[in-house]
Each structure stands twice: as structure tokens, then as C-alpha cells.
Amino acid sequence: MTTQSIMTVNDLHVHVSTDHCQVPILNGVSFDLQAGKVFGLVGESGSGKTMTCLALVNLLPNKSKVVRGSIKLKNKDLRNLSASEMRQIRGKEIAMIMQNPMSAFNPVVTIGQHFRETLRTHLQVTQKQAEEMAIAYLELMQLPRPDLLLKQYPFQLSGGMLQRVMIAIAVSLQPSIIIADEPTTALDATNQLQILDQLNMLRKEYNTSILLVSHDLGAIAYLADEVAVMNSGNIVERAPVSTLFNRPSHPYTKALLESRLSLSRKACETLE
Amino acid sequence: MLRMLMVRLFQKKALLFSGAIILIMFVLVLFAPVLAPHDPNIIDIEHKLQAPSWDFPLGTDHLGRCILSRLIFGTRVSLGTAFLVMVVTMIISIFIGTYAGYKGGRIDYLFMRICDVLLAFPSLFLALALIGILGPGPLNLFLAMVLVQWVFYARIIRGMVLSVKEQNYILAAKVSGTPGPMIVIRHIFPVILSQVAVLFFMDIGGIILTISGLSFLGLGIQPPTAEWGAMINDSKQFFRSHPSLMMYPGLMILTIVMAFNLFGDTLRDALDVRQD
């Protein structure tokens, strides 16, 4: 299978302006996302992973903006799009799964409403059709009783279920790219694996490109095809997943990997 | 810490501005007899409803009394009553609220049921009804206001005490054997007092409005005492021909209430006390 590049990010610079000066938070980030592949982005908190994601969907917080570089989605530079064109791309072309599913949903709006409004924003469908689509995608995510689920409110569901609903919503518009920003961090261990498996299934079925952002090296190793390591706004190393884990070349990557290994070995020694 | 707070407070222009107005009002309260050009209650029917002149800077009312003097003396009545009501209410509320919140149990349960019933009436209405039943007059006005207001603040203070009570340093004090009253005085009062002060300044404007409103209805301060609400009531019948009679007391109320509201709001923001 030949790989097909969906998105190319080139030399991305993002600055935050404070009262006195401009502080760079991304210094020339470049990577590309390919259809059906998972691109992992690792790094400690504050290294610019989330900022990169936000820049891709043009939802950077106030006072920070892209100052240089290009974000090309299928040869279209997203930086040249108007606000409303960009809005139509969000959700439809680039979907995003948020870190904390418990707070991402509006507590006073039903799951069904969340689902339907997303579908009807991007597709010309009736309420009824949207409802049927929603049920189909919830079933795909192996959620029990989808018809009942749609009538429920976010607080009635567990974090793992909400995360799967969020994935179902993301997938339902069959986007080219899904950005998953720490999709498993807020979940307990049993749910984590399930979510990763489901993401894996989806990229195979729909040939979606996934940008997986995590500080959990285990999740990255499990799912990613290619990995980039970020540190203070730079990608310090980029390599296929096996290469990176087996023969890391950058000192920061080594340190990152070792911090994990040494921890597990120490734990073993004390246990024995 | 206290110094930092003072610096922060002084940086707020709004606080300085409103504070200055409040200060001026207090000067009027204290030196009313010196500052007022005339006795506010001297009736001179021959000089009634006069236009402003050197002798009467704001003219005279329907009984020939000096309006400026009445406004100045009115400051005493309005501010004085409001402060008295608020101070007494706060003292009662602090005691009852702290006691109910700290002790808990049956006392607290009883207190909450009293709250349920008293707060089942709109506060303004209850004040109106009470004063109507007790009969109009300054003492009954004061009694009615305190009786209606205390529940509201006592409940807020009870809430504050409940949340402070759960703090670890209170627990530490208890574990180390500090007696109950000591804990309340040393650890709980200092925390809630600043919040109470903010409440005091945030709501005193409303109290002034209520008192002048009741006096306007003829239920509060009685004529011939110079009170702003009662003055507006007096000038009702002349307001087509002499609208200025009504303007001055209204402007006084508006100014002082705005000053207190601004002061309270700014103080709350500076101390970051949230009222719910």
C-alpha cells in the first residue's frame, strides 16, 4: 500500500504575546500525516504538543498566533482560509477527541443533541436521519443501548463511555484526520486499552490518519507508526516507532525513555 | 500582607473616588449644624417655594424651609439609620450564624427552619408588613429592618463558618486542645470578618434605598424630620410646578447609594470575596 500524505505541517512557529514581548512556544515544527497511519507526538507537559494540535484546527487561545510556516491539508493551506471555511473543515475534515470527556460535553445537553447538531452542521440530513446515523456509529463503538444513550445526559455516563461517544461523533463525519489529544489520560486502565483498540480499528476501516498526542509512552508504542518527540516547542527526534524505542538518537529521547524504564525496574527490585 | 492589601486598595481609582464621596457624606453627618445655613425645621410660610437665592442656595420647600439645610440634616437620618440597622444586624447575625454553624446539631436545625419560614416572605414585604403592624416611626423602622435582615446574613455567616470549620488548621487547633470559644475568636472570626465587611458595604446601599422607600410610603421616618424619602413624598404634590424639590433629595440618595455600591463592589474584587 502506497502511503498518501493528508496533511503536511511545515516550519510552524507560534508565538504568545504578553504585555512586554512575544514568547515563542513552537519553533519550526514540521511533520506530515498519512492516510491510515498513526502519528504519535510525545513529550512532557508544556512541550507544545497541545499547542500544535490547536494550531492545526486554528483554535489557538487568545494572544497566541501562528507567525510562520504552513499547514497544508490536501494541498490547501489552512492558514489562507477564512474563519467560516475553517469552521467547515473542523469536525468534517479534521476531528478532535478531547482529553477530558467528562468536561467536554455540555452538562445540560443530551448526548443525542451533541451528536445530531454535529452531523447537521456538516451534512444535509433531517433530525431523523441524524438520529439513525448516531445510533449506527454508537453501535460501531460497541456502546450498549444506543437509542437510550442518546436521551441521556453526560453526567449519567462514565468517562470511558463518554470517550467512546466522542470518538463515535468524531468518526461519524468520516474525517481525513482525527486528532486525539491525550485520549486515554483521564480514563482507568481497562478503558485505556479498549479505546486504543477502537482507534486502531477505525483507522483501518476508514483509512483515517490519526495524530495521537500523549505523554504515555505505552499508548504511543501500542498504536503509533511514526513518533515525534517534542521538547520546548521543537521536534527533537522523529522516527518510526520501533527505531525510536530501540535506538533513540537524541539525548532527550533517551532521557524520556529511561525515566520510564528505570522506574519500572526499581519498582520490580523493591517488590522482590 | 496588610500593607500589600492597602497598596492594592489604593491603586483602585474607583475605591478612592467612592471612598471620597462617602467621606464627604460623613463630614455632612458630623458637622450638619455647622454646615447647614438654616435650621431645617423652621417653618416660614411667607417664603415658601422660593427659587434659589443667596440666603437659600437651593430655595425653600412648601413650608418655607431651607432645602439645602434639610438635605444636609437628611444625611444624618438616612446614613445614621442605615448604619445603625446594618451594624446591629451584623452583630446579631455574626453571633447567631457562628453559633449555629459551629455547634451544628439541634440548634442549627432549629435555626434553619426559622430561616425557611422567614425567608419564605420577600424581605421588603416583610419589613413593610412589620412596620405597618408595629406602627410607623423611626424605632419601629429600625426594629422591622433588623428583624427582617438578620436571618439573611446569619445564614450566609453560618455558611462561611461551616466552610472554615472544615479547614485543616481548625482541625489542628482542635486536636491540640484549644477550647471551642478560643477557636472561634482566634481562627474563625478573623477569616469571616473581612467577608462580613465586604457584605456590609455591598448591601448598605440597598438598606438606604429600603429605608427611604419606606419613608416615602409614610411608614418610616415621620415628618417633619428631614429625611430624603419623606422629602420626596412631601414634594409630590408640587412636582408639576416645582420639580426641583424632588430632584435634590433623589440625587442625594442616588449619589450615596452609588458610592456605597461602587465601594462594596471594588472592595469585593480587591479582597476576592465571592458572594452567592
Binding site: V108, V109, E117 | A129
Partner: protein, 312 residues
């Protein structure tokens, strides 16, 4: 939802009981003797013997508890007694004046909602802009304005100077404009500020970001997601406001000679017409409690988290 309403209704009973008890006892605080007041209002000289007879006739010679039970029994059947002044059943009189007060209050509520909601939303959306500053100054002044004074200002400018609207009285729709606006003014200010703050708090919640991520139109995000959350504290505050608004209507009525409950109540107070005073107090308490119940139910409809709390 039904369970939720039933629960709220059952909480109502002890409160209503408390209200009736307080109302009954409040009247006993009054200086002077009801029998004497009755005689005076009937132009009968209050001799000792006449007072004695009156006490028996009005049932005032019985123990307090018996009086209370008698009174409560009648009240439940909407028998509020006979007015000392007019000698008419109090209930009939109440129903004569109350609609005017209700009309005034409801119009003021509608004005408050229709004006403060859009202003609050726009101030929050364009925070720091010209409109926001203007509305903040206006609402600040509005909250500090004495209602009775504002009423006269309105009357002076719109009725006397500009001759646009009738000065006093009740009748046409034009008569309603100034009184309801006067009554609503302070509440418009309060609610504009409240909604603005509440909108600002919700505009940066994660669910707003998630809605943007899904490509929803700004119109839908503000109108459906943010507004629905921002209205919750406003609805809560509304329950407290409605009673004070009814009382505020009393003051407005006295300015604009509006023939409502307020004037009836104040004149009953000055005449010491005890059955009327008592009934008015009870009526206000019940209305206020019922309004709060309705607000609670509205809150339950808006916020499912409250509704489901008791059911699990």
C-alpha cells in the same frame, strides 16, 4: 421529573404551615386591640362592654391555639373574614385589587427578561467594547436608583414635558408603560450584570471549545450551549426577585395611582384593618413560595443534574 415535582411539593407543606403561623402571630404583635379597632372603624364608641361583646363576636376570647385553628380552617376554604372597613369579604376585595398588581408585575417581568437578556449577552460577547462599557454604567446607575424617584422622573419627562404618556391611573396599554418600566428598571440592571458575569464564566468552559472543535456555528454555540448554562444562576436569582418585585409594585402603585394591592394594603395598615392585613401577608407568602416552587421546577427542567439527583 414527576418524582422531582412531588418531592418539591411535599417540602412545601411545612413551609406553608410556618407561613400561616407567622402570619397569625405577626398580627398579635400589633399594639392595640383588634376589637377596639373594629369598633372605631364602625363608629361605635369603644366602651368596655362593647369591647367585651366584640371580643366574643370575633372569637378573640378563645385561647390563641383555638383561634389559630379556626382561622386556618377558614383560610383553607378561602374564607378570609370580613374587612373591618368596608364590611365586605376580604377575599372579594383581594381579587378586586390583585389582578392590577399582577398585571403590573408580570409586565415588568417580561420587560426585564426582554431587555436584560439581549443586553447581557451582547455585553459578554463584546466584553470591554463601547456597548459593554455603556451597559455597565447604565446598569450600575440603575441598581442604585431609588424606584420611587425614578417613577417621578419618568412621569416628569415622558408625561408632563413630552406629553407622550398618561400621567397616572390604569386603563389603556399606554398607562402600563411607565409603571412597569419603573418597576423593571432596577431588575433590568441587576439581571444584565448577572447574565453578563454568568456568560463570561461559561464562555471559556471546555464544552465551548469542544463545540468549536466540532465546527458548530458561533450562533449555535452561544445560543444553545453557553446561554443554556448561563441562564441557570439567573433562574435561581429570579425566584428571590419575584417577591421583592411584587412588593416594589406597591411603591410604584402609590406613585402612579395604580389601583392595586399595594395601596389597598397600605391603607389597611393605617386603618388597622386586621383581617385585610393578615390576608395580604398570607397571600404574599403563598405567592412567593409558589413562585419559588415554579422557579425550582424551571431549574429542574433546565438542569438535568438537579432532576436526577433524587431518583438514583
Amino acid at each position: 421529573m414527576i418524582w422531582f415535582i412531588v418531592k418539591r411539593l411535599s417540602m412545601l407543606i411545612p413551609i406553608l404551615f410556618g407561613i400561616s403561623l407567622l402570619t397569625f402571630l405577626l398580627i398579635r404583635l400589633a399594639p392595640g386591640d383588634p376589637a377596639e379597632a373594629y369598633l372605631r372603624l364602625s363608629h361605635i364608641p369603644p366602651t368596655n362592654q362593647a369591647i367585651q361583646e366584640m371580643n366574643v363576636k370575633l372569637g378573640l376570647d378563645k385561647p390563641l391555639i383555638v383561634q389559630y385553628v379556626d382561622w386556618l380552617g377558614k383560610v383553607v376554604r378561602l374564607d378570609f373574614g370580613i374587612s373591618y372597613v368596608s364590611k365586605q369579604p376580604v377575599w372579594d376585595e383581594l381579587m378586586l385589587y390583585f389582578p392590577a398588581t399582577l398585571q403590573l408585575t408580570i409586565t415588568a417581568v417580561i420587560l426585564t427578561v426582554c431587555i436584560s437578556v439581549p443586553i447581557g449577552i451582547f455585553s459578554a460577547l463584546y466584553k470591554g467594547g463601547m456597548f459593554d462599557h455603556l451597559s455597565r454604567i447604565l446598569s450600575f446607575v440603575g441598581a442604585s436608583m431609588p424606584t420611587f424617584w425614578l417613577g417621578f422622573l419618568f412621569m416628569y419627562f415622558f408625561s408632563i414635558k413630552l406629553d407622550l404618556l398618561p400621567v397616572v391611573g390604569r386603563g389603556s396599554l399606554a398607562h402600563l408603560v411607565l409603571p412597569s418600566l419603573t418597576l423593571a428598571f432596577a431588575y433590568i440592571s441587576t439581571y444584565t450584570r448577572l447574565l453578563r458575569t454568568s456568560m463570561l464564566e461559561n464562555l471559556h468552559q471546555p464544552f465551548v471549545f469542544y463545540a468549536r472543535v466540532r465546527g458548530l456555528q458561533e450562533r449555535v454555540i452561544i445560543g444553545r450551549h453557553v446561554l443554556k448554562m448561563a441562564l441557570l444562576p439567573v433562574v435561581t436569582a429570579f425566584g428571590m426577585t419575584i417577591g421583592n418585585m411584587l412588593t416594589g409594585a406597591f411603591i410604584v402603585e402609590s406613585i402612579f395611582a395604580w389601583p392595586g394591592l399595594g395601596r389597598f394594603f397600605v391603607s389597611a395598615l393605617s386603618h388597622r384593618d386586621y383581617p385585610v392585613v393578615q390576608s395580604c401577608i398570607l397571600l404574599m407568602g403563598v405567592i412567593f413560595v409558589v413562585c419559588n416552587l415554579l422557579v425550582d421546577i424551571a431549574y429542574g427542567l433546565l438542569d438535568p443534574r438537579i432532576r436526577w439527583k433524587g431518583e438514583r
